[in-house]
Structures are given as C-alpha cells and as structure tokens.
C-alpha cells in the first residue's frame, strides 16, 4: 500500500509540473491556433535562469528564502521575456502564412534555443541547488511523500487557482477568452489582439518557468536538453485534455502523470517515455478532440 501511495504522489507531482507547462501550450493554441514548439525550451530557460541566479546568490551567501523568491522571480521575468520575443520574431510575421510555416518556424526556434543554451553554458548535467528544505513535520511520512512533492503540489494548486481567477474575472482574462473565441470579432470590439497574444505568452512562459524551477529542484539536476522531452509530454497532456481548454490541460496532465508513474512503477522503467508517446499517438488516433475538448467542425 505504501508503494501505491508513493506512486500516487509521484504521479500527482509529475502531473502538476506537466500542468504548469501544458497550460502554456493550451493557452497559446487557444488564441492563435499554433503549437508553440519552443515552449519546452522556455521551460528549460526558466530552469536555467533560476539555476544560475540561485547558484550565484548562494555563493554570495544569501538566505534560502531570499534565494527561492529571487530565483523564481528572475526565472519568470526572463522566461516571459523570451516568450514575448520569440512570438515577435518567429510567429508574428507568419500570422497569415499557411499553417505549416509557423510550425516549422517554431521547430527552428526550439532547435536554436537549445543550441544557444548549449553553446553559452554547457552540455553537461549541472547539479541544481536544493531550494526546498526537508520539513521536520514531514519526517514520519518522508519515505512515501517528500517535502518537495508537497511544496510542488501546494504551489501548483495555488497557481492554478490564481490563473482561474485571472482568466475569469480580470479585464485581460476576458480579452483573452474573447480572442480565443473569435479573433476578428475581438478586434472589432476594440481589443488589442497583439497585446492579448503577448500577455498569453507572458503568462504561459512564467508558468513554464515556475514549473522548470520546481522540477529542477525536485530532481536535482538540469541540462540544455530537458525542454524537449518535457515539452512533448506537456503537449501530450494538453492534447489528452483537449487542446485549447484550460481545465482540460490540468486534467490531462494529471492523467498523464499518474499513468507514467504507475506504468513505470508496476510495468517497467525502461519504457518510461514510450508510455507517454504511445498515449499521445493513441489519443490522436481515437479521440483527437481530447477529454474535455470540443470536436472541431470545419465549414466550407
């Protein structure tokens, strides 16, 4: 039973990290209908920025709490900056191009960013400083649920809650929903669509950066290549839940996280990534609209 609970919590932790990344995919897809292939790289850059900032601060002897806050802020700020810049350079000029063009451009951007980090930093795995302390009150259950699992679950729940409020009640949230429904119509009623798109990239990138920092601190190492796999898995989660739907992305991520956790725990750990990819292929074949998505009908 302990093993089951351990896997359950492992899966939930995994799933909530996927959710932080998948939200970026799903929001961008909902608004401009593009698979933002470089989103995994944004997550990687977020993890790297927080790694650099946290290490520098710890060398200069800052207290742990200050390090965590500053590193998280820095990761969010720089990742959002990257997100907005990528959108401006690689996607905005192609907004009216045929559908494949922005996708190819996004793939190019993803390869470019990976190699940019590889060349500017290193190709080695770097040890990520432990930002989450082992809590004393978690001692009795520490062999099943780690402190970082708890922190990740609480943080992501809070972030999701804040995001829901933002999208439901604020002005920019309403503008985002309107743009997602019908871009031309939103423009006609006076919404600055360019700004809404930028805001979407900012929010999505900041969430991904937070996810990157949390998972890097949880696993304890990072590398320039982590974004590729995480990106694909988060995309799988977004599709599983129904791309474009925000609750769908969260549900899909949790399902994917649990599936992976139980499959590696009970079946085989060699094929960890194969499960995610097979799930992706199966969903797209049998239910391309996802769990909570609406089937897209095309009118001629």
């Amino acid at each position: 039973m302990d093993y089951f609970i351990e896997l359950l919590f492992g899966g939930l932790t995994r799933g909530s990290i996927y959710a932080l990344i998948a939200l970026g995919y799903t929001m961008v897809y909902g608004i401009i209908g593009l698979i933002n292939f470089a989103h995994g790289e944004i997550y990687m850059i977020g993890a790297f920025t927080s790694f650099i900032v946290a290490t520098v601060l710890s060398i200069y002897g800052f207290p742990l709490l200050a390090i965590v806050v500053i590193a998280a802020l820095a990761a969010a700020v720089w990742s959002s900056a990257y997100g907005v810049t990528i959108e401006k350079i690689a996607y905005r000029p192609l907004r009216h191009a045929p559908r494949l063009s922005p996708l190819i451009s996004a793939i190019g951007m993803s390869i470019f960013l990976q190699n940019y980090v590889l060349l500017a930093q290193t190709s080695d795995f770097l040890p990520f400083p432990a930002l989450i302390p082992e809590f004393a009150f978690m001692e009795p259950v520490a062999h099943i649920v780690g402190s970082s699992d708890l922190v990740i679950l609480i943080t992501t729940t809070l972030v999701m809650f804040a995001l829901t409020l933002l999208i439901k009640f604020t002005r920019i949230g309403k503008a985002m929903r309107a743009t997602a429904q019908d871009r031309t119509m939103a423009m006609l009623v006076g919404i600055n669509v360019d700004r809404v798109i930028s805001a979407t990239f900012v929010i999505g990138s900041a969430l991904a950066a937070l996810g990157g920092m949390l998972i890097a601190s949880h696993i304890g190492q990072i590398n320039f290549y982590i974004g590729f796999l995480a990106g694909i898995k988060a995309f799988t989660a977004a599709v599983l839940g129904g791309i474009g739907s925000i609750p769908g992305a969260v549900l899909g991520s949790l399902v994917l996280g649990l599936t992976e956790s139980f499959a590696t725990g009970y079946v085989s750990s060699d094929y960890e990534d194969v499960f995610a990819f097979s799930l992706l292929v199966l969903i797209l074949i049998f239910k391309p609209s996802g769990l909570l998505g609406k089937a897209e009908t095309k009118k001629v």
Binding site: Y116, A120, F228, Y271
Partner: protein
C-alpha cells in the same frame, strides 16, 4: 538614409537583447567549485549583433515594401533561372552530362576522405528528396522521418547478423519494410490535421528510437550492432579504399534513380493529386481524389526512400546504434528541404550539399551547426518561405503559331 527614429528603435532592440541574454550569456557558474565568472564581452557582442541585424531586417522590409509598391501590376511569379535553364534541352543535356562526369571522376580526383564526405552528402540528397515527396509535394509535415531511416538501417543490420543476408537482398527488403511501417503508421494518422500529424510522427520517431535503445534482445540496445558486412560485388573481395569508391558509386546511382523517379512522379497524375491535396484538401476531395490513399502513397514512398538510404548507411558505416537516429537527424533533413525549396528537386540537392558539406569544410563553424540549422528554419520561413530555389507550378499556355517563344 536611416532616420533617427529607426536608429532609436534598433538601439532599443539591442538593449532588449542585451537584457534578454544576460543570465545565460554573461553569467557562468561552476556549482561544484563555487566560482562565478562574468563574461561581459558576450554582452557587447550580443548588443552590437542585434543592433546590426535589426537594421538589416528593417532595410529588407522597407525594400520589400517598395518593390511590392512599384511592381504591383506584374506580380506573376517568375521561374528561377535554374529551372528555366533546366527546362531547355540544349542546356539540360550537356549540363547533366558534365555533372555526371564530375561525379564519376570525383573519387579519382580527390582523396578517400573527400569521397567519404561526398557519399554522406549524397545520402542526404536522397533523404532530402524522399522527404521532399512527403513535406514539399504532398504537404504532410513529417517530423519522424528518421524512424524510417532507422528501420532500413536496422533491418539490414539484423538480417545480416542473424541470417547473413547480403546487401543486395537487404536493400529492397529494408526499403519495403520502411514503406510497410509507413503505411502502418500512416493509415490511422493521416486523417489528422497537419500540425497534429507533425507531433504524432515526432512521437513515433521517438518511440522507434527508444524501443531500439531498450529492447536489448532485439537490437542489442544502446551499444548497437557492429561488423555489418559491406556490400559485395559478385563475390569479389575488395580493399578498403575500393569499397569506399564502390559505395560512393552506389549512392551516385541511387541519386540518379531518385531524381528520375521523383521528377517523373511530380508530373504524373499522382504528383498533381499531391500538389492539389497540399493546396486544398476539401476542394481536392470534391474533385474525386481519394485523400487517404493519395496521402498514404506519399507517406510510404518517402519512407521507402529513407529505408533504402538506411540500408546503405548501415553498409557504409558497418555499425548502427540508436544514437544515429535522434530527432535532430529529422530536423537536419527538414532543414535541407526547407532551405532548398519545398517541392523543387534542384533546390533540395543544393540544400543538402550546402548544409552537409559546409560544416565539414568550415570546421571552425561546425560547433554552431545546429544553431545555424535552427536559425535557417526560422529565417527561411520569415524571409523566403519558398526556399532558395522556388518551385513554380508548371503552367501550360496556349502556343500561338506565329510566336517562337514557348513557356
């Protein structure tokens, strides 16, 4: 020439990029030794570089607008010179003869090392032409193309290891197996929309690689399969250098066959159906084209070519392992097709030769190879989506009796 406003904008761009790249370009930490090194010189490079690039981009866009303004009347796409020359038989035959002669003499003129590089480049030409059928002509973005390449390579490696099958028997088998896998994957997947298709093929490519890596009993895992026999020639034993030349000629032959087949296909009924499908699926179905069948043929034909090259790859290196078939390989082949010009045969050939040979000869730049490939994909999409040599659809015009010029 540049108004102050533009300079100000470029200055802002350069400050923005200096800020953007600050943590990753400037700071480098060593977490074990606990040393921070500040590389401020990088920041200056980034600032100057982005300043210059932003001005160049602005100049380009201004020019483009001006050109669009002045030439609004004649927006007919002109065929690139290369295609116009190749259309004329009196240029085409001597030119292809010259290229062929050069290709045949190549191993005698240059060292074995050069021949080896050229063989690799020509293999990418064939891969590019194969992917060109799928991406360029039929418009199906396939990001897992390398999976079929792997199927070809592994089918020869395994058949050779277990049954001692010869290269010549393995070649059609490898190709057909890859095509079969293509059909198997394509059948359920091809009804998806374009961008989903891209992701599914990407996932599929990764699955194949991961299975090869982890299924030790089948594929010997990450260590791969060594001692694959080189292709034989009627049982004659060849020296090492002779076999390099032999494989080279084999690949040249394959390139010629591929060019012939792809060229014939493009103007066939099937080729026109692909083009139509790329442009508008719904209209195409309304015209009575079987969408699934047509796409499936494109997909499996592309896979077939990847399989053939895979067999040659295994025979050339005499060693295969899963590390040769990563997503980056697919990305390189895609860059070849995109750079050269989707749908254009000459374009793809030039694209492959530039992208593969250039990093080989500019060793200093080879570190930046993948960075450049990524940048090429983005830049080409923004500035020249049709590629270096654009493929203008063949048009037929009524020829007047009196006019001497035919288009």
């Amino acid at each position: 020439m540049f108004p102050v406003k533009e300079l100000k904008r470029s200055l802002f761009v350069s400050i923005w990029f200096a800020f953007l790249t600050f943590p990753i370009m400037v700071i480098k930490v060593d977490p074990i030794e606990r040393i921070v090194s500040w590389r401020w010189d990088n920041m200056i490079f980034v600032a100057i570089g982005s300043f210059v690039l932003s001005i160049l981009a602005k100049v380009y866009f201004v020019r483009k607008e001006r050109r669009a303004g002045s030439k609004k009347a004649q927006t007919v796409l002109t065929e690139p010179y290369v295609h116009r020359i190749l259309r004329e038989p009196r240029f085409l035959y001597p030119l292809s003869l010259a290229v062929l002669t050069f290709a045949i003499l190549f191993p005698h003129l240059f060292s074995a090392y050069q021949t080896n590089i050229m063989t690799t480049a020509l293999m990418y030409v064939v891969l590019g032409l194969g992917l060109n059928i799928v991406v360029g002509v039929a418009g199906l973005l396939d990001l897992g193309y390398v999976a079929f390449y792997a199927v070809g390579a592994y089918s020869y490696a395994l058949l050779n290891m277990h049954f001692g099958l010869s290269f010549w028997l393995a070649m059609p088998i490898g190709g057909l197996l890859a095509a079969f896998v293509g059909v198997l994957l394509g059948f359920p997947v091809l009804r998806l929309r374009g961008d989903y298709l891209a992701i599914v093929t990407l996932g599929f490519g990764e699955i194949i690689r991961l299975v090869l890596e982890n299924w030790n009993d089948f594929s010997q895992g990450p260590s791969g399969i060594a001692n694959i026999s080189r292709p034989g020639f009627f049982g004659i034993d060849m020296s090492f250098s002779a076999s390099i030349n032999y494989i080279y000629y084999l690949v040249v032959g394959l390139v010629v066959v591929t060019i012939f087949v792809v060229n014939r296909l493009q103007s066939s009924r099937l080729g026109r159906a692909w083009l139509a499908l790329r442009e508008d699926e719904i209209a195409c179905q309304a015209m009575g084209i079987d969408k699934t069948k047509t796409k499936l043929i494109a997909f499996s034909l592309g896979a077939f070519w990847a399989g053939l090259v895979g067999v040659i790859f295994a025979a050339k290196t005499t060693f295969v392992n899963p590390a040769s078939f990563t997503f980056l390989e697919s990305a390189i082949i895609l860059s070849i097709v995109v750079l050269g010009g989707m749908g254009s045969i000459v374009g793809v050939i030039l694209g492959a030769l530039t992208l593969i040979l250039l990093p080989e000869y500019l060793r200093a730049l080879s570190e930046y190879r993948m960075l450049a490939f990524g940048a090429i994909l983005v830049i080409m999409m923004i500035f020249r989506p049709e590629g270096l040599i654009s493929n203008v659809r063949r048009s037929y015009r009524f020829k007047k009796q009196t006019s001497s010029e035919s288009e």
